[in-house]
Symmetry: C2
Subunit: 187 residues, 2 copies
DNA sequence: ACGGTCATGTCGCATAGTGACATCACTGCT
DNA sequence: AGCAGTGATGTCACTATGCGACATGACCGT
């Protein structure tokens, strides 16, 4: 049997990204992905829950970063969440516009992948809400601050991808947060 | 060949709901659903995109109601969206607590179904945003008002299902909207 | 009665995803 | 060295999803 593969998970994720970009998500089989990584289909399924997961292997880091930032903050709930997303923007998305754009174009081309993306953002939000409650924030406030913060990030993210990249994602997050305040205040 | 089945879609949706409740989503095959409705597996796939869709056949009505309410309103964007969800709460969810609770318990028991629910809420939100923009609201404001309104509805919905049903969903929507204003204002 | 739709059934197929078992590299112990 | 155990991987077989292609039979208008 082939020796244990160094970083099998990473190699599979990379192979999946390449193939999805080359032929599209639906036109790529799990066997294809495994073959490109020099592994078996069964091994893929031991490292990833399903085919879609191969595109979301970075979300653990995202969640860790986000939760840590929330736990470290002492600001008001909504400000905390927005600041945490800004932190993520700086630490994870800086200088990655093109990489992120490619990945996002793949996701946007497949309804299945969009579904999974929504699920990931939802579980991110749930983790943030838990971190907020650990700070003594009541549940409803935690949920509302969390979801509003996620909305701000989504809008800022879309704007970042859309425009050439003149401003940083972190700046855009701050801007959009201000706009949300205006909208809910009754603009 | 059997005569054309009256309301085949509705019968399949009902059969699916029953079976999901009896044995769970994963333990129910599409062939089972079709058999209970007296139809063939292939017919199911002609009427529903996939197995999950059978649980979401009501979402077209939801979207229509929501969009109509948005189009008819002239209030500020966020108020418009909240009012539209209140309208939906009154017209579609009144006196359906137990039915809705059953359906939701099925959805909550399967990650796949939760994913699909998120997608449905997302497409609902997209439709609302389009309706808002048709009223001349700029895109970012429309998105933020739309997403914030959806958040309010989700939280109110969860609270409605959680508590015995003393207050109506419409009332809860109004309450949560007020709380969201407080949270984004900096509670 | 005849031809044309159209919903449905039948058949076959590629693929997703999983359980069970075999295999081999590496580790530590004797 | 040798040997048992562990853990990652491969192999095989299987169920279920979802879809293309074609057949069939009920209904409709003329």
């Amino acid at each position: 049997m082939a020796r244990w593969q160094p970083d099998a998970r990473g190699r599979l994720a990379a192979a999946a990204l390449e193939l999805f970009a080359e032929r599209g998500f639906d036109q790529t089989t799990v066997t294809d992905i495994a073959a490109r990584a020099g592994l078996d289909k069964r091994t893929f399924y031991r490292l990833f829950g399903d085919k879609r997961e191969a595109l979301f292997s970075g979300s653990e880091l995202l969640e860790q970063t986000l939760v840590a930032a929330v736990a470290a903050s002492e600001a008001a709930p909504f400000d905390t969440v927005v600041a945490a997303y800004r932190r993520v923007a700086e630490e994870i998305f800086t200088d990655r516009l093109e990489t992120v754009r490619l990945r996002q174009s793949i996701i946007d081309s497949s309804p299945e992948l969009k579904e999974r993306e929504l699920r990931k953002m939802g579980s991110l939000a749930a983790a943030v809400a838990v971190a907020l409650r650990a700070r003594g924030v009541d549940e409803v406030t935690a949920t509302l601050a969390t979801e509003s913060g996620a909305t701000v990030f989504r809008v800022a993210f879309a704007r970042w991808l859309g425009s050439g990249g003149g401003s940083s994602l972190a700046e855009l997050v701050a801007e959009v947060a201000a706009e949300l305040r205006a909208v809910t205040a009754g603009a």
